[in-house]
Symmetry: C2
Subunit: 224 residues, 2 copies
């Protein structure tokens, strides 16, 4: 389902070249549950952005569901992002002027669902992350952990076949973390592919396979 | 040094009243090292914003260094914030159009230091958090953990007498977390007062006293 070949992402900063991801080769099958770990700056979010079609590699190839992503049009890419992939961002990326309910409703608008059905599904997703009492709050009227949970709800509301979670529990206490991880575990059992970036070994332990990144390269890739 | 009496913070949302902090009574002496823990939404950031003079309580009193904060003018409050308090925000709050060096330099400008001295101190602070190779990067050219470390460097660059750290290691791997905590531990040994919000027990263990918040109230307050 996800295959990369010599994937690279570099940034040019003045005279300097930063190799955020180097010769990255990976193959992830449908329904896998993979944890990606590594130190700060090792390339995890860069990798997630490439897999999530939010960024293009500098070199190398990426096949998603058998299609070479670099050959897709912008329209086809946007359609894949909306229909196949749910992305939980490390820094949440919520729209500040909308409340939680409308932030979570957004991916359903792209899917063409009617208003009544969208609001119903958005409410259900917010209840699942424990935010039934915060639906009408905007991001700056919520705590850090509540914002993170809105980001989780928004990524999951379309029940996407591939879930990319970039540090989904970084701002959560252990009880709330457990609730979010148990949501992800259930989705994996129901057949969704999950790729999870985390710094914490206990969170990574929920996955079935762990990949360790060091300086943009895979240091190890093994079953848990 | 920090005394609160019946401190309260409520928010009005439409017809609803949210009691983020209720009848909060605390006394923190100079050079203490206090950890504040509690579930998502329990009032930790609200408390930190009140202690850091970034917000005013709805009721109750707050004495900082013997002065009643509610009776200070805006000018006096701004002066306290710049001279006494270093704040590490849960969501970093960096200026997006400036690079790391200039973000960290900002508190020193308020202190009236000359350009050469400011840049020297800002560089030193960035080296201390391991970001010597990212000084000229803007926030969106850095990883999540790198942005968090810029927020740490900025809070510490003026060597403030009171350090308020709202989840300073939430986006950091364990090795980098240890480095940041060892910085804070050293500052406490050198006489700085530290109040640290965290969800992780291993991080809280660095402090000498732990306060647990539940729904805006103190559930427990004991020595570590
Ligand atoms: N501007 C606001 N308007 C309404 N409610 C608010 C506002 N800011 C915060 N709240 C509410 O106050 C409560 C306390 O928020 P606070 O940010 O202090 O929590 P916290 O303990 O820091 O949580 P976390 O661990 O998730 O960061 C939360 O339930 C939050 O929804
Ligand atoms: N736009 C950019 N321009 C220049 N360098 C960048 C840019 N974006 C990221 N980088 C660099 O690429 C490297 C990898 O970044 P990435 O965000 O993938 O790290 P990460 O593993 O997610 O780290 P963290 O655990 O701190 O979130 C970092 O060293 C970062 O500074
Ligand atoms: Mg990252
Ligand atoms: Mg908070």
């Amino acid at each position: 389902i996800i295959i990369t070949s010599d994937l690279q992402r570099t940034y040019k900063m003045g005279g300097e070249i930063i190799h955020a991801l180097k010769n990255f080769n990976i193959s992830i099958k449908r329904e896998e549950y993979v944890a990606i770990m590594g130190t700060s700056g090792s390339g995890k979010s860069t990798l997630m952005n490439l897999i999530g079609c939010l960024d293009s590699p500098t070199k190398g190839n990426y096949w998603l569901n058998g299609k070479l992503v670099s050959e897709l049009s912008n329209r086809q890419l946007a359609s894949i992002r909306n229909e196949e992939i749910g992305f939980i961002f490390q820094t949440f990326n919520l729209l500040p002027r909308m409340d939680a309910l409308h932030n979570v409703e957004l991916p359903l608008i792209y899917r063409g669902l009617g208003r009544k059905q969208r609001l119903e599904k958005a409410k259900e997703a917010l209840v699942q992350v424990g935010l039934q009492d915060r639906m009408n709050h905007r991001p700056n009227e919520m705590s850090g952990g509540q914002r993170q949970r809105v980001a989780v709800a928004r990524a999951l509301v379309t029940k996407p076949s591939i879930i990319l979670a970039d540090e989904p529990t970084g701002n959560l206490d252990s009880k709330t973390s457990d609730e979010i991880m148990s949501l992800l575990d259930t989705l994996n059992k129901e057949g969704h592919t999950i790729i999870l970036v985390t710094h914490e070994a206990d969170i990574a332990a929920h996955a079935k396979r762990s990949i360790h990144l060091v300086d943009g390269l895979i240091q190890s890739d093994s079953l848990n």
